[in-house]
Each structure stands twice: as C-alpha cells, then as structure tokens.
C-alpha cells in the first residue's frame, strides 16, 4: 500500500500501476501538512488549488493512456527562492512579501513538464543566508526529530518537509551547504549538483558563482530521479553546462563500489567535529570498504581557508545581487509619504525589508569590493578559490570521490547560535569547498549520534560533471546501512502528532 511514508519511486510505481492517483497522493500530503506543519513550519505558502488542478490533469492524462514521465503525479515541496508564476515567492524575506512572479523558473518549468505536483513553497533563511532557517522573516522551521532544534539551513523547510512526511520530494538550493547540511541534520538525502548542471534561471540569486539548485529526498534513488528531471542545459543561463546530464538514476541503482577509490579528506574530521558524528562517519567508511571500496587518505591543505574565502565571495556577490531590492519595481515599499526622495525610500525599505544577517553580509560584501580593499579581500578570496580547486584536482587524480562528514555537529537548539555569526558559519565548514570548486556534493544519512540520538550526514564529493559517481557511492552506502539497520532511519524519528 502506498502511504505518505513511501518513497517517491514507490509512489510513482503505484501511480503507474493505477493503485493510487495523484489527487489521492496530493490530498494525503495536504492532510499531513494540516496535521503537523503547525509544529514544524516547513511551508510558507501552500498552493492547494494549483496543486490539485495539476494532479487532476496528470490523472486525466494518464487515464487517457498517454505515456507519463517517471515522477508524474508525485508531490513536491519547493524552496521559496525559485520563482513559480503567480505563486508567492518571498525568499524568506519581508522584502518580497506579497510578490507573485510573472514567470516560472526553469526548474519549475521542468517540474511542471514532468507532471510533478508542487504542493507549496518551503521556509528558508532569508535569501538563503544561514544554516538554521532561523533567519526567515516568517519564523523558524523546527526539526521533526526534535522540535526545539534547528532543521539546518538555509533549506530547512525543504528538509523538514521530507522528514515530517509532508512531501516525498523537495527542491533546495546550495550555495555553501544549504541542501546538504539540512539533509544531514534531518536524516534525509540532499544533493548539490555540479555547478551549471541545473539552470539558475528563476533561482533568486544569493551568490551567483556558488548557487546551485538540487534535489532533496528521503532516498538516494528518489534524489536521482528528481535530479534527472531538473538537470540539463538551459540557454537562458549562460553558466549552464551544455553537455548530457550524467546518468545518476542508473548510478544510484548500481549498489556496487568494488574497485572504487574513496578519498577521506584529512582536514574535514577531528577538531570541531562532534564525536558521535565522527564515529558514524567511520562506521560508514567501514561499510564502504566491506562493499569493496578502497580508502585513501588525502590531504587538501587549502580547505582551511575555504570558510574565509566563502565569507568574502558570497557576501560580495550578494551585496550586488540584492541591490535590486529597492522598492521601485516590486516588493514592499517603506516610508513613501510623498515627500521623501527615491533614495530615502530605498534606504528605509532596505532597513525594514532585510533582516540582520542579510544586512551583515551586504555590508561585509560592500566592504570587500570597495576600492582599496578589493585586492586584499575579494581578490585574495578568488585566489584561495583557485587553490581549493587545485586541491580537489590533485585529490581526484588519485581517487574517484572524496568523503567527509557533512556537518561538524548534529542539529543544535533553536536560538543557540543566533548571536554568534562566526559559530554559525562553522556549520558549513565541510560543505563549502564543494561550492567554491563548483563540483558535486551529496549528503546521505549515516545513523544517529550516540550522545544525542540525532541524525548524522555522510558527504560524498564527486568531480565536476561526474555526479553519477556520488550517486553510485551514496546508493551503495544507503543500501549497506539499511540492511544493517533493518529500517529507514526516519522510522526512528518521533511520530509527530497534530495539535
């Protein structure tokens, strides 16, 4: 029987077999959302009418005998930073309150074409800046494993929706770990594809040279199925890769890593990493060795500078990307009393419309790009980027993929790090090098930390345009751990009850 706890692949099979309908599935998920989202707050907006209309259309088409794409009729939760025509898109910011974009992002166009039903828009740190979803202007999302804890960020809403069975699939975006770190702390799967693998058209930019949308799911295969829907060349994104999409579904089904060389990054373990995180990580390495992989320790010495480079590059680019939010053409407008000038109204609007973290990064980026400081900050950060890419290239000359824990800790308590930006930034220490180099990265659940019983993520990094390799390793690890545990990790999560 298909339930909301089924995988997307199972739902797709049931739809194809005619044992369920998209309308049924969609309604079941809205019922779950109704039940638990008051506590989780994964969604910012639900598009029931649109979703059900689409579900009905898919069902009718299927009934008429039309051959349907693999995931047609399966529901999905969309991170609120991708435009969907006519549907509120806020990026978790007050700035865009009430904005309904007049166009679809390429990712949304592809989802629609694939018959995937978009349930609604998920919560996030404002403009994707954060690692806890506490920076949303609309209140935090709660981790279904422990409602007092953060679900990671910036895509905490998408990850929590999966973990709370509010949706079987979700879309996230990953600039410094915003798909992978939430996946790690919620016990779900999250993939950051190779930069350029998925079109950025309609993805509201945070840091253009780092941003990448990607699939979120509860299994590696589900993520792969969704990956193949949203990936591919787009002529509206100049940085989109014009090459065939790696065969990630095939790779996810291989369940075999015999002869593969897996590089363990020396710099991404040890100090700063929670002991329960490290022990699950090492157990997973053992599982991969048992499955026939060879482990190689590799050193990436410049990773020590990745965080610093990231916190110069991302703020610099965001200071420019977010300049357009000035109240002239869309979004809120504050202080227009008929007397103030456009400039004054811009300043007041940006004061009210942006939260503290966004302002912090805009000011930091404005500084890093200023004449006289550019070379020392932005320029130097770009050089570090080169050095990190060299580290990766050297490592990939020796191994097929690289691995590390996804995040140094399990989910922390809401409010615990809000006043310490530097501590907050450390959550992304293991995920950031992937974004700087533009390569692929994936987080797969690898168990619960003994000390707190919370999920731990295992990160797999693959060379650019070889996303298939991380799916192959991730799928194999997932299968090995599942046979060890006997049940999916989310079965261990507390069952949420409505209030």
């Amino acid at each position: 029987m298909t339930t909301i706890r089924s995988t997307a692949a199972e739902m797709a099979a049931a739809l194809a077999a005619g044992t369920t309908t998209s309308v049924e599935l969609t309604n079941a998920h809205y019922a779950q959302i109704e039940k638990v989202d008051g506590a989780v707050h994964a969604f910012l907006h639900l598009d029931k009418e649109g979703a059900l209309a689409q579900a009905e259309a898919v069902d009718a088409k299927r009934k008429s005998g039309t051959e349907m794409p693999p995931l047609a009729g399966v529901p999905l939760a969309l991170k609120d930073l991708l435009t969907q025509k006519g549907v509120p898109t806020t990026c978790g910011s007050r700035m865009l309150e009430g904005w309904r974009p007049p166009y679809d992002s390429t990712v949304v166009s592809k989802l629609k074409a694939a018959g995937i039903v978009i349930l609604g828009k998920t919560n996030m740190d404002e403009f994707a800046m954060g690692s806890s979803t506490e920076n949303s202007a609309y209140g935090p999302t709660h981790n279904p494993w422990d409602l007092a804890r953060i679900p990671g960020g910036s895509g905490g809403g998408s990850a929590a929706a999966l973990a709370a069975f509010e949706a079987p699939l979700a879309i996230g975006s990953d600039t410094g770990g915003s798909i992978r770190q939430p996946a790690a702390v919620t016990g779900t799967v999250g993939v950051k594809p190779t930069y350029g693998g998925v079109s950025r058209y309609g993805l509201i930019a945070f840091s253009s040279s780092l941003d990448q949308a990607g699939p979120c799911a509860r299994t590696v295969l589900d993520a792969a199925l969704l990956h193949e829907v949203i990936a591919g060349h787009d002529e509206r994104d100049s940085t989109s890769i014009n090459a065939p999409v790696p065969q990630v579904v095939k790779a996810a089904k291989k369940l075999d890593v015999k002869g593969m060389k897996i590089g363990v990054v020396k710099e991404l373990q040890g100090e700063g990493f929670q002991s329960g995180v490290l022990s699950r990580f090492h157990e997973s390495l053992d599982a991969l060795v048992s499955a026939g992989a060879e482990l190689v320790e590799v050193s990436c010495p410049n990773f020590d500078y990745a965080l610093a480079a990231y916190y110069l590059i991302a703020p610099s680019e965001c200071s420019s990307n977010l300049a357009r939010f000035d109240s002239m053409r869309y979004g809120i407008r504050v202080g227009d009393n008929g007397e103030r000038s456009a400039e004054e109204v811009m300043k007041l609007t940006r004061h009210e419309g942006f939260g503290p973290e966004v302002k912090r990064r805009i000011i930091l980026g404005t500084y890093a790009l200023s004449s006289g400081y550019y070379d020392a900050y932005y320029g130097s950060a770009q050089k570090v980027r080169t050095l990190i890419m060299r580290d990766f290239n050297a490592a990939f000359a020796k191994v097929d993929v690289l691995v590390s824990p996804t995040a140094p800790t399990t989910a922390f308590k809401i409010g615990e790090q809000v006043d310490d930006p530097l501590a907050m930034y450390l959550n992304d220490i293991a995920t950031i090098p992937v974004n700087l180099a533009g390569i692929g990265g994936m987080s797969v659940p690898c168990g619960l930390a003994a000390e707190d019983g919370l999920p731990v993520g295992f990160q797999i990094m693959s060379p650019a345009m070889r996303d298939d390799l991380m799916y192959q390793v991730g799928g194999t690890l997932e299968a090995a751990l599942l046979s060890k545990w006997g049940a999916p990790i989310l079965d261990k999560a507390p069952v949420l009850v409505g209030n």
Partner: protein, 98 residues
C-alpha cells in the same frame, strides 16, 4: 585586520542604501571587526602567482542569437509594482535630476 569604525560602517551603509541608526552602526562595526579579522586570513595564501577564479566552470563565448522573443505584457511587468501610473512604474521623486 580590524579597526572598522562606526563611520566606516555608516559609509558602507550609505553605499548599500540601508538606513541605520547609531545603535545598529555600533553593533555592526563590532561584528565587522570580528568577521573581517577571521576572513582576512585568505591573504596568507593568496600569493601573487595564483590566478583568481571568478567562475568555477571554465567556459567561454556563450552567446544568444539576435532574435526578438515576446516580452511580458505591461500588466505582467507592472504586476509587482508598489505604485504605477500610465503604464509606468511610479516612484518617489528622483533627486538631482534635471
């Protein structure tokens, strides 16, 4: 590297068009000091012989054919405008214009 003053932050806030009161400026100046102190370490390894990377995937010459495609309707273009008039975006007085 530290020593970001409140005046420095005020100048940056002006460049970034963000209104900030004194308390916000003071608070941010302190935070900037800490953060810049931490990120300045990029300079340790940024040697002159290392080329900068501004784009992770090396591709060149991506261009589009010079073909006209339909624009938005003016209603769609203006759909999010906080104020509009006569098919145009209505904005507060722009200072310093002729």
């Amino acid at each position: 590297m530290s020593g970001i003053s409140r005046e420095d932050v005020a100048h940056l806030a002006k460049l970034a068009r963000i209104e900030m009161n004194d308390a916000e400026l003071d608070h941010l100046a302190k935070e900037m000091d800490v953060i810049l102190g931490a990120v300045a370490r990029v300079q340790e390894v940024a040697a002159s012989d290392v080329p900068p990377t501004s784009h992770p995937i090396p591709v060149n010459n991506i261009v589009r054919e010079d073909i006209v495609r339909p624009s938005l309707s003016p209603e769609e273009a203006l759909s999010g405008a906080p104020a509009q008039s006569e098919g145009r975006f209505k904005v507060p007085q722009i200072l310093g214009e002729e």
